[in-house]
Amino acid sequence: MTAATLRRLIVIGLIALWELLPRAGLIPELFLPSLSSTLAAGWNEAGEYGHALAVTLYEVAISMAFACGGGILLGAIVGSLPRPRILIMPMVSSLYAVPLVILYPVFTVWLGIGSESKIAFASIYGFLPTMLATAAGIQTIDPQLLLAARSMGATLSQRLVRVIIPAAIPTVLSGLRVGGALVIVGVVVSEMLISSAGIGYLISRYRTILDSPHVFAGVLLVLAMAIAFNAAIKWIERKAAIWQTGTRAGQNAAEEISTTTLQPAT
């Protein structure tokens, strides 16, 4: 059995369980409504969910730009300058250690309860891991490469864009993956905590009144976002594969490329 087949079987199995377990009464509908009733609930309120999805996607998109873009850039800068790294990194990771979720209700005082506070929260939530992962990845770069670039007169920004980031690509990509996923989590969770729009809001509102099919219709949308995000990352990974030569990731990517080119496109 190919890996893809097995994976699909697992997914199909999970979907089947989702339908059958509640129907058989093995799990109360309150905890897991059957997939069909979830879909029906979502379909009946399609307009409401569509609007919520738009709000959430908007927040996710902006937070993603801040968290991933800013995280990679600052991580690369801080990671490649020894002095700031020694000084700043411990403080940044300590800062991240402050459980922000708890203080979130208080932050809304200054950020309002609209999209701004979600974006701020999710950006911070996704930014720090991205930055930390990138900075850590930078440290695994062969110093000889930086020396070579310096000898050719590369400015700091050129070193960043042309050497540091490409050399740290495997770690940067994982930073992107973690950061991006956390942005989605951050937006949804902050919407669940405090808000009047978005998927998270619908989830927690329906949860409060024990309307589980509608709760899970929201969860389904979150899952859909996660799938889309994973597809996007895969695409980026494939694009970046060529940069990863000389590492394990590169080996895998190269194999992937050669197997896909060898197989007839069906």
Partner: protein, 297 residues
């Protein structure tokens, strides 16, 4: 001794005070049982915990019982606990001159959509025939957002309401305990299965809980002291909480009363107005099997 697991929706809420009193006065022991108290994030979470089998007897909104039946969770209200929203108030900043009527088109903070505070906000809109925006800010966000001016008013629970009223930061523009017509908002609840398996446990639990209420009514000083300690609030606020909520609670608890179906139906109707769907008739969720016999300390 057999242990009953009691689920409570938040810490600083009168059911917790009652259950704590029962523990401290050893009322469960006197009934020959043990009790384990668990505090949850809110009403829905408490109900879920009971449905999951993690709690045996809970205090919760009666509407959830009705909603739960449609989701495969069969439980009933065993004893009536409160017929009003004691201590719940609609508040503005002290310096604000807004009255209830002036809230039209303004922003009012609630804890979360579908919660008790949302219910009261919706009721206010209907009753006062005004429209305002309900802003869910979470329990922890109510006062901060009010103080910061992000909202014009907030639906505040007790004893928080007493606290910020006393501190002079906010003032009450509507007292829900007085304005909302009596309805059976909260009761002690258990799964049908638990009632069936362990009716004795249920009876003893209710005895101890109502015994605790009786003890509190009879011992103001001790009760105020307990509230002060549990809630970490000044004694004077604790006294307000005692006067305005504890003393207002149902002392009988019996679900036999003539007014019960009507009061329960009223509670369900309010919940429906708040967005709940699929609620069955009140009769479906009433259990008259138990009559609490307050345990003597």
């Amino acid at each position: 001794a057999d242990t009953v697991r009691i689920g409570l929706p938040t810490k600083t809420y009168w059911p917790t005070t009652i259950a704590e009193t029962a523990v401290r006065q050893k009322l469960f022991e006197k009934e020959g049982i043990a009790a384990e108290l668990t505090i949850y994030r809110g009403g829905a979470e408490t109900f879920e915990a009971m449905a999951a089998g993690a709690a045996d007897v809970i205090l919760d909104a009666t509407s959830l019982v009705s909603a739960g039946r449609k989701k495969g969770v069969n439980s009933k209200v065993l004893a009536s606990a409160a017929t009003g929203y004691y201590g719940w108030q609609l508040m503005t900043l002290s310096k604000s001159t807004l009255g209830v009527k002036d809230l039209a088109g303004k922003k009012v903070a609630i804890t979360s959509a579908g919660s008790g505070s949302d219910l009261l906000a919706l009721w206010t809109q209907q009753d006062k025939k005004i429209e305002f925006t309900r802003v869910p800010v979470g329990g922890g966000g109510l006062v901060p957002n009010l103080l910061a001016g992000n909202v014009d008013a907030a639906v505040v629970y007790s004893p928080l309401s007493f606290q910020i009223s006393k501190s002079g930061e906010a003032r009450t523009i509507l007292d829900f305990s007085k304005e909302v017509p009596p309805n059976l908002a909260a009761g002690w609840i258990a799964l049908d299965k638990y009632v069936q398996d362990k009716p004795q446990m249920v009876q003893k639990t209710l005895n101890a809980l109502y015994g605790a209420l009786m003890f509190m009514r009879a011992n103001k000083d001790a009760s105020v002291k307990l509230i002060t300690e549990l809630y970490e609030i000044p004694a004077e606020i604790a006294a307000l909480e005692y006067e305005n909520t504890i003393l207002k609670l149902e002392t009988d608890g019996s679900m036999d009363g003539a007014k019960i179906p009507e009061q329960l139906q009223l509670a369900l109707d309010m919940a429906k107005a708040g967005g709940m769907k699929d609620l069955g008739p009140a009769a479906e969720i009433i259990s008259t099997q138990f009559k609490p016999v307050p345990t003597k300390p």
